[in-house]
């Protein structure tokens, strides 16, 4: 009786979820298919070819934009992860009033529309007499990535037992040893996910880069934005990015699973 009542309902809800997934994956499927199109059209598929992939690898500006995107994302992720981790650990030991004041300021780039952060940074550089360049681009990326690192690590730090670090200090460890041997090992999964978020924020950014990069420095988003005509090579590029993102997400989600299994096995062996 119960089962009979449930099945049309679950049929409907599963159908609905399928429709939502179709909507969300429609453009992704569309670019993957059209990246193999022989013709230039984005509405008619005229035959299979790899010419847009060849085109992509011979397009200097497009390759440069990939290079800049990766370069900026790597540097910004490294610096914002280190700075954010250090700041978060410091903040967790700060007085509540000081901590909330700093966290509120830290939240500004997250809460503000990107365009406000972007023009603010641009005005700052211009008023300070700094020419917009690759450096200003990287500085702004560090600025909007670090808050996400801190926001990811803070909750984890709050869960930590303060007594463990205290115990390490009491047992003769200096603060540096307490940090490296006690605190960091406990929060490193949060640091990793913070770094991953920072990388993807930097990799995908358009608005802030658009206002703070020097002339001739384009990341992928800026390149796509500045294109005057429809260029099917972008489909090839999108397809490659989709593949890379999928692989990374699978790795990130599967590795902890394998690890869990391994520790589980080791534990049962004991």
């Amino acid at each position: 009786m119960e089962k009979k009542k449930r099945s049309p309902w679950s049929f409907m809800s599963n159908g609905y979820l399928l429709l939502v997934l179709l909507f969300i994956y429609l453009p992704i499927a569309y670019v993957v298919v059209f990246s193999f199109n022989e013709g230039k059209s984005m509405t008619k598929f005229s035959g299979f070819s790899l010419r847009w992939y060849e085109n992509m690898f011979s397009d200097r500006t497009m390759l440069d934009s990939i290079k800049y995107t990766v370069l900026v994302a790597v540097i910004a992720t490294l610096i914002s992860t280190v700075m954010g981790t250090i700041a978060a650990i410091g903040l967790s030991k700060a007085r509540p009033l000081v901590r909330s004041a700093i966290l509120e300021t830290n939240n500004l780039p997250v809460m503000n529309p990107d365009i406000v952060t972007a023009i603010g940074m641009m005005l700052l550089f211009i008023v300070a007499g700094v020419r917009l360049s690759l450096t200003t681009l990287i500085l702004s990326h560090i600025t909007f990535c670090t808050p996400y690192v801190i926001l990811t690590i803070m909750p984890k730090l709050r869960q930590l037992d303060d007594n463990v670090a205290e115990a390490a200090l009491d047992l003769g460890a200096n603060p540096w040893q307490a940090l490296v041997k006690v605190i960091l090992p406990q929060i490193y999964p949060a640091i990793l996910s913070g770094a991953l978020i920072a990388f993807s924020m930097s990799f995908d950014d358009f608005v802030i880069s658009f206002f703070t990069a020097g002339v001739g420095i384009n990341n992928i988003s800026m390149y796509v934005y500045s294109m005057k005509r429809y260029n099917p090579s972008v489909n090839a590029l999108s397809t490659l990015i989709v593949i890379v993102v999928t692989l990374i997400l699978i790795l990130v989600n599967v590795i902890p699973y394998i690890k869990d299994k391994k520790t589980l096995k080791e534990e049962t062996r004991r």
């Binding site: 700075m83 903040l91 030991k93 406000v116 608005v207 972008v234």
Partner: protein, 260 residues
């Protein structure tokens, strides 16, 4: 433990220079005139009166608010049932669905919007606003679903059993238990959708064509094309204030609903 707090000093310096100072810059530029390269401190409200007295600018502001509101409402209407259905799946299927929904979030927004440009070429007779609307709902829907799903998944399932035991039917249980408990998820979903939708200038530019202007495009024009940074700063300040006000209103509505 004082020595640990010292670790924060470099970052305090960083946010003072790169977060606080830029905000002050925008404020100074918005309140002055003729100061692109050298800041002249002659305070004036002229930029604001110019913005609010021009019907063209007012229309742009109105269009931006309208499309952001429609986008937010549609994301809730489509996203809420989806979040609810996901929460009813098995643990494994839930993880899978959340993963499937998050995957496209990691893909560059410009590239996804560009893909929509290709799809919408098949429907050339659609109005600009409809195209921009589709692009925005597409881009923000996953955020709404994830936020609502998180709040429903956190809910204590025993509450539903209790409601059934006390004689409530499915519909009443939803209205009196599930819906009120998922309001925080809807609120954070609104924050993640309405805010970027109001200020978006990429989606209107790529999908709406040149004739479709939102407030973000206006700011871009005054900074990049016209070079009137004072006026551009004033517009972005107005936009930021509208966003803060609407967030405050949403949170207040939430609080009022709880008191009822």
């Amino acid at each position: 433990m004082k020595s640990f707090f010292r670790m924060t000093y470099p970052y305090i310096l960083w946010i003072a220079v790169f977060i606080v100072a830029p905000m002050i810059m925008i404020l100074l530029y918005a309140l002055t005139k003729d100061g692109n390269r050298t800041l002249i401190f002659r305070f004036t409200l002229e930029n604001f009166t110019r913005f609010f007295s021009d019907p063209t600018f007012m229309r742009v502001l109105f269009t931006s608010l309208r499309i952001a509101l429609f986008t937010t409402v549609f994301c809730i209407l489509i996203g809420y049932p989806a979040a609810l259905f996901i929460a009813n799946l098995s643990e494994r299927a839930q993880t899978m669905m959340v993963l499937l929904l998050t995957l496209p979030m990691w893909i560059n927004m410009l590239l996804k919007t560009y893909a929509w440009r290709g799809i919408l070429m098949n429907f050339d007779n659609l109005e600009s606003e409809v195209k921009v609307f589709i692009g925005m709902v597409y881009d923000f829907l996953p955020y709404m679903i994830i936020q609502i799903h998180t709040s429903i998944a956190k809910m204590d399932r025993e509450l539903l059993t209790a409601a059934y035991d006390l004689g409530a039917n499915k519909w009443k249980t939803f209205l009196k238990v599930t819906l009120p408990l998922s309001v925080p998820g809807i609120i954070s979903g609104i924050t993640l959708v309405f805010l970027p939708a109001v200020s978006s200038f990429v989606i209107p530019k790529l999908l709406g064509g040149g004739d479709y202007v939102l407030i973000g495009n206006l700011i871009e024009t005054f900074f990049v094309t016209t070079g009137d940074w004072n006026f551009g700063s004033a517009i972005s300040l107005v936009m930021a204030l509208i966003i803060i006000a609407s967030m405050w209103l949403t949170k207040k509505m939430d609080r009022n609903a709880k008191e009822d």
